[in-house]
């Protein structure tokens, strides 16, 4: 079974995003970029399934600027077998991404497509569900455990009240949550090896789908920020403040 893993190049999760002064967006010039952390978890899960003998090939795919190649090379260094870059300078929205991925899946025929549950830039949390809809496939979102057996996959999902398990027919779409696994670091020899793994170059026009933006961002602003309040000296002062607010046992 083949596993397809879409990955996105985003601002590194340790970098605090700064809103541009002109309100057009977040400043990404000279900012460290990395693989979306949830996508790293997705890649890791695919590689583990290959190591267990469940999967035979892991294919990473990214839609984005030329530098998204670096993100794909990271996937290859972690253990993916080959990669596809669909290169564009446009910001493609989740619906457009899902349409491109649906076309990639038509060509690849993967048994599982594992995505991160959301990208930490636009926080949409949509692409996996949309891809499942377009392909008419089942979806196991916010996965914390994945088990493939007998032509189906059991997915344990992180839901509001706790955990829920669903059984999906294959092929299926899975979106990875934080606790699915802890992604490995690529070793130096594997980083070197990744340089010679195949990386196919495509453009959106190769797939013949309409990916024009449906949303227009009018402005981006800093959130309302809180001011630091007062520090109290001891518990008695805190209790007095709480009582003044009407908070009592």
């Amino acid at each position: 079974m083949k596993i397809l893993v879409p990955v996105k190049r985003v601002i590194d999760y340790n970098v605090k995003p700064r809103v541009k002064a002109d309100g057009t967006g977040v400043d990404l010039a000279n900012v460290k970029m990395s693989m979306n952390p949830f996508d790293e978890i997705a890649i890791e899960e695919a590689i583990r399934l290959k190591e267990k003998g469940v999967a035979t090939e892991v294919v990473a795919v990214s839609i984005g600027v030329a530098k998204a190649q670096e993100t794909l090379r990271t996937s290859l260094a972690m253990g993916a077998d080959r990669a596809i870059l669909i290169q564009t300078d446009e910001d493609v929205e989740p619906l457009g991404v899902a349409k491109l991925l649906a076309k990639v899946q038509e060509e690849e025929g993967a048994g599982l497509i594992i995505l991160g549950k959301q990208a930490i830039d636009d926080d949409s949390n949509q692409t996996g569900q949309m891809l499942a809809a377009l392909l008419g496939l089942p979806q196991g979102t916010f996965a914390s455990k994945v088990e493939v057996a007998d032509g189906s996959v059991s997915v344990t999902r992180e839901v509001d009240g706790g955990l829920e398990t669903v059984k999906l027919s294959l092929p299926a779409i899975i979106t990875a949550d934080l606790r699915l696994n802890e992604p490995r670091y690529a070793s130096l020899p594997n980083i070197m090896k990744a340089k010679s793994k195949p990386l196919a170059q495509k453009i959106p026009a190769d797939y013949g789908v309409d990916i024009r933006a449906r949303l227009e961002t009018l402005r981006v602003v800093e959130p309302f920020s809180r001011m630091a309040g007062v520090k109290v000296a001891d518990v008695d002062e805190l209790v007095a403040k709480l009582k003044a607010m009407g908070v009592t046992a």
Binding site: D123, A133, F142, T165, E222, V235, L242
Partner: protein
């Protein structure tokens, strides 16, 4: 604009997040509801009483019993033939279902809206709440999920909606529900609690977390939350997590105990009315957002506080 709100329910009751979604929908236009599930007559009745609702579409079928997106999305798509906007609460079920509906309608969804500016323009958080975008949808129909803490809850009474049964679109045979481990809470639910006491990594281990945090929460009638670090360290289950990837909360009072205040955590609680921080590190970022801070050893402070309240 005619809106359709998906009603999330549990144990025969409409969940709070749905009431916030109803308020958001009412700012777009007429509010109609969809109650889908198995044996949902009681929920449908309750839904008709929500203030301001019109029709309550009811689909009663085992196929809808566990809110499986594969079965519910086609039902919603049918109903969207005569609605202009689909609105769902941004809960784990809402987030699972809405994008599937959006793609089937060929609409680009707006996730976790914070406000309705006009029919097609909304605000929503991006970059873990570090920026707020004002976004206009060019699609004819709209699909949005609603962040519950950003909208008042519609009143549970006062409405006079009319039930209309809709035919089931059936079980698509793609997925099935196996089971759930839903924590039985003796305390209020995080997202609707008035007071929350949250603990961080400084709580050391599971027994210590329970020993220090639970009595204070119990005394205040508060829900218990945790930072991602505390959840990852296994002090409490994942559903306690407050933060960008956990639950977004905005209680009257949020007590952060031994939480340093990572961006990720602040994104989940910074809309709380009053934030109280207890931490031994006086430079911890949590103090930059706290209304009341107390620097010191939480293992001395919290028991003393619990005792003196």
């Amino acid at each position: 604009m005619k809106t359709l709100v998906w009603v999330e329910h549990e144990g025969g009751a409409v969940k709070d997040a749905t009431l916030s979604a109803v308020t958001a929908a009412s700012q777009l236009g007429e509010v109609h509801l969809l109650v889908a599930g198995e044996g949902v007559g009681g929920v449908a009745d309750a839904a008709t009483r929500i203030a301001g609702v019109g029709k309550v579409h009811v689909a009663d079928d085992a196929a809808f019993g566990h809110a499986l997106a594969e079965n519910i999305a086609p039902l919603i798509v049918e109903l969207m033939g005569h609605h202009d906007a689909f609105v769902a609460p941004a809960t784990s079920n809402g987030k699972n279902i809405a994008p599937r509906v959006a793609a089937l309608l060929d609409v680009m969804q707006l996730s976790e809206i914070l406000s309705v500016e006009s029919d097609g323009t909304f605000t929503r958080p991006i970059y873990a709440g570090n920026a707020i975008a004002t976004v206009r949808s060019k699609d004819a129909r709209k699909v949005v999920t609603v962040r519950g803490t950003a909208f008042e809850k519609a009143a549970r009474d006062g409405g006079s909606g009319v039930v209309e049964a809709v035919a089931s679109t059936g079980d698509k045979g793609l997925s099935s529900f196996v089971g759930a481990e839903i924590a039985k809470l003796e305390r209020p639910e995080l997202t609707s609690a008035k007071i929350i006491v949250s603990g961080g990594r400084a709580l050391k281990d599971r027994p210590t977390f329970e020993e220090v945090i639970f009595p204070l929460a119990g005394k205040l009638g508060a829900a218990v939350g945790a930072s991602r670090a505390a959840v990852d360290a296994g002090y409490v289950p994942n559903d306690y997590q407050v933060g960008q990837t956990g639950k977004i909360v905005a209680p009257e009072v949020y007590v952060a105990v031994g939480i340093s205040g990572a961006i990720q955590h602040l994104a989940g609680m910074k809309d709380s009315k009053t934030i109280i921080a207890i931490n031994k590190d006086e430079d911890a970022p949590i103090f930059q957002v706290a209304d009341i801070g107390l620097v010191g050893d939480l293992f001395k402070i919290v028991p003393e506080l619990t005792d003196k309240l």
